[in-house]
Symmetry: D2
Subunit: 284 residues, 4 copies
């Protein structure tokens, strides 16, 4: 059975589900208003159990998931939500070995997930203009041991990206439409473009720009996460939910602009019918 090792990240959680993520250093300790936990009491011990502070309060000791790490990130920017990150990884075909460009890095929530997904053979190229934010992203990546797969570039992307033929490129910026030629130049043919935007006005502007940028198969989607109260005899959705994080926009680099012209005119994205058609006809 795997035991907690010195150097491991662990998640300590109170019975009210307040969470603390710490790295186990010999002789170290976590001080909270519920009391003190000494790391030497955790090292060499199994996870999944409760310990008590010197004041007698209980903390559950767990391995933090990528989800936990993202939710608990030190941040000074709005971060992406796990529901959106999980979906775009699949949608943009990001996996072990992928080479991915990201801008801006922000506090590193998406960067973390990208680094984990592309490891051990891929690479994330992450651009961010603000030096304070990139320093934070670097600390966050280092802390969870994922910096190795990331090249953080402290740079405005006005002059484009250094990479070419990357598998996927994601923009989490205010005006992604300004960077489409650069994005296209960095992507391999057929490569995956993605962006997240909070407002409908921005989505419209990006869609307008995508039309002329040699990026096709455009989709706009949003994900709503609805939690239920986990009470067997009174199962019901929670009273409140997050209603909006952002619109996800996906596209793929196509080879000729003439081609795009034709695709655009033919395109009638009727999701339901398309799915049916797909299910009926794809057999191969």
């Amino acid at each position: 059975m795997k035991l907690a090792q010195e150097g491991d990240l662990v998640l300590l959680m109170t019975r009210k589900r307040k969470q603390f993520i710490v790295r186990l250093v010999g002789g170290g300790e976590l001080q909270t208003h519920k009391g003190l936990i000494r790391f030497d009491d955790l090292i060499g011990q199994p996870l999944g159990r409760e310990v008590t502070t010197h004041l007698g309060h209980y903390f559950l000791v767990l391995e933090p998931s990528l989800h936990d790490l993202i939710k608990n990130l030190r941040r000074n920017t709005q971060i992406m939500f796990p529901k959106d990150i999980g979906y775009l990884l699949l949608k943009m075909n990001i996996g072990p070995g992928s080479r991915v460009v990201e801008a801006g890095a922000g506090s590193g929530a998406l960067t973390l997930a990208l680094a984990r997904a592309v490891s051990p053979t891929g690479r994330v190229f992450s651009y961010e203009a603000r030096s304070d934010i990139i320093a934070l992203a670097r600390r966050n990546l280092e802390r969870v041991g994922l910096l190795e797969w990331v090249e953080l570039q402290e740079r405005d992307i006005a002059h484009g990206f250094d990479e070419q033929d990357v598998d996927a490129l994601f923009l989490d910026l205010r005006s992604p439409w300004d960077h489409l030629p650069a994005a296209r130049a960095a992507l391999k043919p057929g490569g995956y473009f993605g962006a997240i935007l909070p407002t409908t006005n921005q989505v419209s502007e990006l869609l307008r720009a995508l039309r002329n940028a040699g990026l096709g198969l455009i989709e706009v989607q949003e994900l709503l996460l609805r939690s239920s109260k986990a009470v067997p005899a009174r199962l019901r959705p929670a009273d409140r939910m997050v209603a909006h994080t952002g619109y996800l926009i996906f596209a793929r680099k196509l080879l000729s602009l003439e081609l795009m012209e034709e695709w655009r005119e033919k395109r009638r994205p009727r999701a339901v019918e398309r799915t049916k058609a797909r299910e009926a006809e794809v057999g191969n």
Copy 2:
């Protein structure tokens, strides 16, 4: 620039977005009612471009994403949707190196995603009782080159799982509550349990069983994917959407049943407040 190679899987798509996924074999061809495409015309050529059939119809040639592979799977069972798969990978902390148990395999949609996520150093142990379905899952995995990371077990799980100390375990079965002791036995302490169920009655029954199974930190969630029509001047949600795929249930293996007893009583899953608390207090 990467070119299509003999042996690659490619996605061929008509202008009405009908999709065909094929493996490029020298001398091979795809026959559709729109005409014939010869694979020799694709091998050694770039992706992301259009080709024409002998009848003059256009097909776009693309690398298929994991998302495309899942949506276009040959299936004789209901398959999981990418929105749910992407989320559970993050939530259950599945990444390169993870050891994951899955039952039942079904047509292999989740298996595909698990295999991709855990490669190249992890392993998926996939159980399925029906021999016809497991044969289909095997063909699907072979076809996309991911069988290497999967051990398919044609077996009822009534007698439990062979594995121990696995990182995560997912049940896509009618009555997961029957298999919780086996699931717990297979998981490492703190390991991730997940399940998907279509009906509220099943969710209630699973929640009831989880209470007595040494699995805690229970959550019930569902994801709704809403697409928009990608027209810049007339941006609006699509007319129809998939309203339900299933409820996702997550839990973690905790070490003692006494512990669970206490957790249970304290647990009041108030999602919004919890998030706030987390954001306010987690500083580490």
Copy 3:
């Protein structure tokens, strides 16, 4: 017990829930591919029971609800959905005695509901430019006996409305922003303005125009209706749902434009907090 009378509208429904709405005329009959039903067999008989056609097929005989009438309207235009209509009636304070302006009438779905709601002492002023559509709306209103409360005006509203001091005014038009001065002129101070628009671009344009039109307390909302399969042991949401009908925009006529200027700047529509504040502080 109330019995079906000659002249009543009744809803006839097959066991597959196909619906026919007819007016009972002595000697009349309904011919369907399932056979013939003679109205004389229904007149003087109770509702809520089944009858058989001459071919032995069953039809349930019911009083049609306003909901049924709206769903089954003869139409040559997109009609509003009951979920949206029911909400706006409350939101715009429309009830017995209200005087309401509507444009355009379309096939009369909203008109029906407005007429029912304002009767017997109120009045609906309904504008529609196309003569064929207004003829259809008139037939629909006559058929359900609600024409009495409606003044149908076959007229473009470019030159404004004839009414003044109306309680509420609803625009179901492509460019409601062109008619805000006219709308304001027709409304009483504090009166209710409403509109429905399918695209986000239109909503933005209307919001822009409302800012300068002396209409304040602006809200944008949408309603999603999710049905469940009504099976007690397998309760679950239906597989598919209507994802979008339109955005509802509400505002109220305020008295001075200077006032609006100030309101606009102060306005921060944070729905959740507002509700809490309201609940905490409103004591009156």
Copy 4:
């Protein structure tokens, strides 16, 4: 132009949208922490304008809508939301002249809307077992001038309802399944049954009971209200929303139990297809 009269209810709203609903009594005043407003300054004046307190703070003076009245009700119980109330009025065909039974009355939110909808010729029969709650409902109805159309019955409904042949009957109770024979006895043939329930377990239990109660055409629905931030250049959904108020269950009284038996077996509620069928075939 209509002016505020002595005796009118008015809504006073701060610039932060805090709301106060008061009845204008000569010589009266509203005292808030923002200062004092004298009713004599409002009587005889137009609505839709701003006034200032003696401390110089602004309040907007408006006629309250039914929606405002419901949201601002004095309450000691959970109340129904306007989105649900508006929908059920249409769905259950409640309008001027309808005779409607309701239990329990609670603080009177639904009662208010029912009374308004059935006036001036209909009647609401409202049952409530707790005397403190019924006193509150009575005060709420009196205050808004709608008590005239309501018969409040302080009584447990264990022994049934006094009324017969009512058009519609709505249950907002913990265990509506206990009262189905009484509900059926009170309804006219074809009459409308409705209920609201928070948990899925309750919905399943009600569905089970409805099967044997001579109530058919059963539907289960829920409404989600999503607000947007009303900023033209940054249009986007609000960050948070109410995720759950309750499931609405609708049914209609059918005449024979044998009939129900057959309906039940035939029933396959496939919402999307049904709608299509309806649209295609209903021509009448």
